[in-house]
């Protein structure tokens, strides 16, 4: 993707103005002020978890301080306040992904939980022996293992959509793989190991024509792209609160209402029923029938606050800024001896996965941590991606809108210390 920073359209005429806006955003994130090993923290592990702005922290704290009680239960004031805040978060998140109804917004414990819900409540009910599920080669384990479990219990087949050397879906092969047995296509919106942004609209269009259900893992997209589930045209969309500047322990599953209506609950318990007797149980409607037990109320409210925070930002500015960071980082890391970027797709979020000749990513991670640069090293819970490129692991620097060009410089300097120490030329 060619990126032109839209200075004029956004009324941002100078680099200084851009820096001023980023400095302002950084002030919202208290953790960015801390030090590691007496050096300013350079947090480049946003793919694993994004930091929370004080607006989110304050919202969670206020809930615990003033409103804490259970939801959907009591008639007392606190319970009503909790319920209102919880359901307000559902409304905010509905808007965040442009779903057509809050009935399509199910709170879960995270992306993994969301995909497991689809597997248990949809796939187990509607797939039969011999059916196929297409899963891409660049999926996170969260979008592989549930399908693998289903393949064992229900005798359905998993077929892999290959990826190209640059880390893009091989769409020609994808089309060739489609036959009448394919019932589900499971792909991520953005690859956590490569940064690739996948052409979801193209995929869902093809699948709709054939009546194939699409399950999109949006964990890496939810903070970086404007997600519009109606435009994307997917049947299910899953993501996590902590990947979009909210707290851990929360996630969301969007499902088309017609599908949710015919699906059975995933878990049984309180809050998901209309009536219970030993003769008959009548389930509540979606989304409540999928939210058994007391939910992570404070965290869900925090996730709502995170969506609100992002919605209040100038998204166009943030997106183009992140692309600037990606361009800058891609250019700068190429100066590091022996470094090779894994994942060079045309459309990427601000994430760079790389290897360095003769240096194991774990050693890179340790030395970078000494320099207060936080990156992820390992297989990124995407071992099939590592196998595809014949490598055990990569180092991943994943950026957010609060990162700066100076932090990229700090990363590159730390990497050069690594290559110096290991004598890489």
């Amino acid at each position: 993707m060619s990126v032109t920073f839209e200075h004029k359209k956004n009324g941002i005429n100078t680099e200084n103005e851009m820096k001023r806006r980023i400095a302002e955003i950084r002030r919202d994130f208290p953790i960015l002020n801390r030090k590691v090993n007496d050096k300013p923290l350079v947090y480049l592990d946003n793919g694993a978890s994004t930091q929370m702005p004080k607006q989110v922290i304050d919202t969670i704290s206020a809930y615990h301080t003033y409103h804490h009680s259970n939801v959907h239960r009591g008639v007392h004031t606190l319970s009503q306040e909790s319920t209102d805040l919880y359901e307000e978060a559902r409304e905010t998140l509905k808007k965040y992904i442009n779903a057509s109804s809050t009935k399509e917004i199910i709170f879960t414990s995270g992306t993994t939980d969301s995909i497991n819900l689809v597997m248990h409540s949809y796939a187990k009910k509607f797939l039969k022996k011999g059916d196929k599920i297409l899963v891409s080669n660049m999926e996170h384990h969260a979008n592989i293992v549930p399908w693998y479990m289903l393949s064992k219990s229900h005798d359905v087949e998993i077929v892999v959509i290959p990826i190209t050397d640059s880390g893009e879906l091989d769409l020609d092969t994808f089309h060739d793989l489609l036959d009448d047995d394919v019932k589900i296509v499971a792909v991520n919106h953005v690859s956590n190991a490569l940064g690739t942004i996948n052409p979801i609209e193209k995929i869902t269009e093809t699948c709709r024509e054939r009546g194939i259900i699409t399950v999109v893992d949006g964990a890496q997209a939810c903070a970086h792209l404007t997600v519009d589930v109606q435009t994307l045209g997917c049947d299910f969309y899953a993501f996590s609160g902590h990947k979009m500047h909210g707290p851990t322990g929360t996630g969301l599953l969007y499902g088309r209402k017609e599908l949710l209506d015919v699906m059975d609950p995933y878990r049984g318990g309180g809050d998901m029923i209309l009536s219970v007797s030993f003769d008959e149980i009548i389930y509540n409607e979606a989304p409540f029938k999928f939210e058994a037990g007391t939910p992570a109320i404070a965290q869900v409210i925090g996730m709502g606050a995170a969506a609100k925070y992002i919605n209040e930002q100038d998204k166009k500015f943030i997106h183009s800024y992140e692309q600037k960071l990606l361009e800058y980082a891609t250019d700068k890391v190429s100066d590091v001896p022996g470094l090779k970027i894994i994942g060079t797709a045309e459309n990427k979020i601000s994430l760079i996965s790389f290897i360095i000749d003769g240096v194991h990513p774990h050693d890179i991670g340790t030395i970078l941590d000494e320099e207060a640069v936080a990156v992820r090293t390992g297989h990124h819970c995407a071992q099939p991606v590592m196998q595809r490129y014949g490598i055990p692991a990569t180092t991943r620097a994943s950026m957010s809108f609060y990162n700066t060009f100076e932090e990229i410089d700090a990363l590159v300097l730390a990497l050069k210390k690594v290559t110096d120490l290991f004598d890489v030329n």
């Binding site: 090993n37 003769g358 240096v359 194991h360 990513p361 774990h362 050693d363 340790t366 030395i367 000494e370 320099e371 090293t377 390992g378 297989h379 590592m386 055990p392 692991a393 300097l413 050069k416 210390k417 110096d420 120490l421 290991f422 004598d423």
Partner: protein
């Protein structure tokens, strides 16, 4: 370039050298003992091979595999120390090494000098598994287990 003292302590010359040129890096065709070691967190893998005589003396030991500098150097140095040692001596060496890298023992006088280069590991709990992978694999091989994982 300026490195932190912890980095310098951890990545000593000896470790970097063994990482680059691992000793006894080969397969033994007909070993009396062998095992696979795996550290799932970082993906380190190594295959360890041993030839142990009837009177429990290690005649030969070798490894192949892929891993970080700490795990590779640890495996390499381990093999250089074990040849000619009795199984009892090997176990004692592992105990001393384990105490060193987990910070359990300050008194490392009895420990072989070549193992002391791993003292820096005790400051980095996440790396202890890297340093001990080869040794755990050795234990597994001697106990006739095929595979061991350190988590």
């Amino acid at each position: 370039m300026m490195l932190t003292s912890r980095t310098k302590n951890l990545y000593q010359e000896v470790i970097l050298d063994h990482n680059k040129k691992p000793r006894n890096y080969r397969v033994i065709d007909e070993p009396t003992h062998s095992a696979k070691g795996h550290n799932p967190l970082c993906g380190d893998r190594l295959d360890l091979y041993l030839t142990v005589s009837d009177d429990n003396v290690i005649q030969d030991v070798s490894f192949v595999g892929d891993g970080c500098a700490i795990s590779k150097a640890s495996a390499s140095i381990m093999t250089t120390l074990l040849i000619g040692k009795s199984l009892e001596e090997a176990h004692e060496m592992f105990d001393g090494f384990h105490d060193l890298v987990t910070g359990k023992s300050e008194d490392d006088k009895a420990l072989n000098n070549r193992l002391k280069v791993f003292a820096g590991v005790k400051d980095l709990p996440a790396r202890v598994k890297c340093a001990t992978l080869a040794w755990h694999t050795l234990n597994a091989a001697l106990e006739n287990k095929d595979e061991v994982t350190t988590e």
